[in-house]
Symmetry: C2
Subunit: 476 residues, 2 copies
């Protein structure tokens, strides 16, 4: 594959100087169009060690407008990064819409390096590459323009450059000894991640002028793609439900008497307190997530859940409208940014499932968007699970009559009045469409690592105990 | 001081249950008013170890709306936190306007603990308390309502509780042995930070119902303060300049010939490259900041500065309009959030001085706001310096004729046309008012740790060399 980048192409100083003014003008004009668009550009700068990755980034800083341009390196993980799934550090640096983000040592670095030194198997490596393909496609479908640059040097050139030591960082020489192995692993990485949404560009980097002009032209071409349509997956057709949904199987007659409730609640809360402290000491995190009908009792269940836990350990996140920084990113970004450090318990009152529930039913997301979200969510939860984060997902289920009773009650209790709005009444009318959406959510995202728990909640107290019991059970 | 919190006050179950419904209604109503305001509430929960701080936070979660409520604990610094000035971890958790942030183990914890164990002197401790007073006043003047709760237990009660071990976290028992010393250091902390803007409330915590009702009433009172005027310092009168400004002392005739320029530039860039690698290896950070007239050559100087540096080490931040998350915070917040990790070099194209330059001249900040900003900025820079971050500040100076020449030139060079806007022409007309503002900046914020460098920039190349020379000099 690298043969095409060993053709000894060069650009003379004269050619270079003749080409630059026009190129800069075009780059700046294209960047200004990007600024006004809803798209973001991700430039991955990778390649062999002495090919001038840093020089290329400096050149882009020189030719582009520094406003709306950020560059990020990933060479030492902080403990905050180590305490979270591996992709967290990339998510936190993704450029907002309208801007350009340059990534050194992107998501490719670790899989390649680990494979070169045989710390991972070929199967692990291939699996990582598939994760990358999925990740890049997800970003591309969200509007990201992804430019992947691979700067190549022939072996003799690379070794000669490493001989001239002083300029290169501490890591460089180590790689030299493994040139061939790096080349073959990189070749495999490039082949398996060279997609329509995020194609690789291999650049002959021996001649600096040729390299810089080529990079600039590739970046220009990418920037000019801002007006082209965003690649979309064919939407999976929505299920055509006619029969019962999974919610019809929930036994809403379940109930509990006062005496049992108090005793069991107190017992479960004590267990949970001990579990939370233990998790804290062991650095084990958990995410507990609540979805459910309006007035199903999410708030009450959450309050009983946190009551016994030291308030320094848990955090309750009520999902509200995204901020503009959040809207400038993929919809999962705001959930990634909230992933807790080790030992914490994060409780979500509503969650990333909004994409396939309210956004689907209300039409805030297109069919393309919500139908691909199931897989995006499964992948997200899988990454949490792989990192050892326990995930417990609840749907609190009530029937329409019980909801009506609670709405009426809310109107009459002073401190509950704020909880009932016009919107709640409107949502009620879409009951069956929400039920369909819930059915799809449960059947498509109940995985072994993150199963759904459908909790009968017509009896609030039964539901609270059931929630506590499930959490204690899952976290033990 | 704690005697007033040893009066054995209690609330019966009956009284408690009678009071709660009304109180919850009021709390929720007040919280909704806060949501719509431009103010934020900071609740600091502190006090002796077994007084129920965590229970109080749980109670607030129960009685308030979890939307717009966040709680933060600070008990293990991450390396990302250790690599930055101590207050960084507090700044990153400050609640946005319209919301409530609960702080456990706030900025008080470390100074108190260190003083108890005599790791710091009394003078150090007092200085820390003064920093706190300044910090809290700054937030209060920005609209923050600060509630500081100190939960108190008499000594015998505290020791009895610690005897009943299991419930308390690992740290608690260690404190018990030092009860008296903690009491006296805390007493001093409270006295010296009990201000009009951020008064302390000492709460007798023996009886849980009394404690929780009292806390809720204090929080309610604070929330209801949302409509009261924001405390303002008397504005320092603007200097009445009639004579020359510091800019008049800058020798704009300085120039350099081509030959010297190329040789010196290349020599300085080599030095800078070595310095940057060395700083990286030693974990030494630096911040290099550029202010200056429009068209003074900031961009060009920055490009020559970064050219020799490995792109993984530096980051260029062009200060543009704040995002809504940034506008929901004190104006310094967005600069705090960008403080680099150890070993990095951050280059600012424009900076926090916008507050006392453009915002002052254009009237975007009130006289109150910009005139107190000098001290806020000095304090901010002092914290950077104390943490060992090198700070180099440049004002690139040109005269109005040279500016006009460059504006005209920009109109005629294709890739520079985007750099010249109507606004630039308008700013030109306010030259003398900007000059006054610059004079005030230089005289009021040129400190020993962060002096200003006024660079003659009528000759661009002279200015670039001067910038490089100064950076090399300051960072060596």
């Amino acid at each position: 594959m690298f043969e095409a980048a060993e053709l000894h192409r060069t650009v003379s100083k004269k050619e270079f100087e003749a080409a630059v003014p026009e190129l800069r003008t075009q780059l700046l004009a294209a960047q200004r169009r990007l600024t006004k668009s809803k798209r973001q550009v991700i430039i991955i700068v990778s390649g062999v060690e002495t090919a001038g990755k840093s020089d290329v980034v400096n050149r882009l800083h020189e030719w582009l407008d520094a406003r709306g341009l950020s560059a990020h390196a990933f060479w030492r993980d902080s403990d905050e990064e180590r305490e979270r799934p591996r992709y967290w550090k990339f998510w936190r640096k993704l450029p907002p819409r309208g801007t350009i983000g340059i990534f050194f040592g992107s998501w490719y670095t670790q899989p390649i390096v680990e494979r070169v030194y045989r710390k991972t198997s070929k199967a692990d490596f291939d699996r990582e590459m598939q994760r990358i393909v999925f990740f890049e496609r997800m970003l591309a479908q969200d509007g990201a323009i992804i430019v992947k640059l691979w700067l190549h040097l022939p072996k003799d050139e690379e070794l000669a450059r490493l001989g001239r030591k002083s300029k290169w960082g501490p890591e460089a020489k180590k790689y030299a000894a493994h040139y061939d192995r790096f080349a073959s692993v990189s070749d495999r990485a490039i082949r398996s991640t060279d997609t329509v949404e995020a194609p690789w560009k291999i650049i002959e980097a021996t001649d600096e002028r040729y390299r810089d002009l080529t990079v600039a032209r590739i970046v220009l071409e990418a920037l000019e793609g801002v007006d082209r349509p965003i690649p979309q997956a064919a939407a999976t057709p929505a299920s055509q439900l006619t029969g019962p949904t999974v919610l019809d199987n929930v036994d809403l007659t379940k109930t509990i008497d006062d005496d049992h409730y108090d005793r069991k609640l107190s017992k479960l809360q004590k267990q949970l307190r001990d579990i939370a402290w233990k998790q804290w000491e062991e650095g084990q995190s958990s995410v507990i997530m609540f979805e459910g009908w309006d007035a199903a009792g999410k708030g009450g269940a959450i309050r009983r859940l946190i009551a016994p836990i030291d308030a320094r350990i848990y955090r309750v996140i009520s999902v509200a409208a995204p901020t503009d920084e959040e809207r400038a990113q993929h919809y999962l970004w705001r959930f990634w940014r909230q992933i807790p450090r080790a030992g914490s318990m994060t409780i979500y009152d509503r969650s990333w499932y909004g994409r396939v529930l309210v956004e689907r039913v209300e039409g805030f997301a297109t069919a393309d968007e919500w139908s691909r979200a199931y897989r995006e969510i499964n992948d997200f939860e899988e990454q949490l699970a792989e990192h050892g984060i326990a995930l417990v997902k609840f749907w609190l289920h009530i029937d329409p009559d019980e909801q009506l009773r609670r709405f009426e009650e809310r109107k009459s209790i002073s401190w509950k009045q704020h909880k009932i709005t016009e919107e709640d009444w409107r949502n009620r009318e879409k009951w069956s469409r929400y039920a369909e959406a819930v059915h799809d959510v449960v059947t498509r995202t109940s995985s072994a690592v993150a199963p759904w728990h459908l909790v009968p909640a017509n009896d609030k107290r039964f539901a609270r105990l059931e929630v506590l019991r499930t959490v204690v059970d899952q976290l033990s």
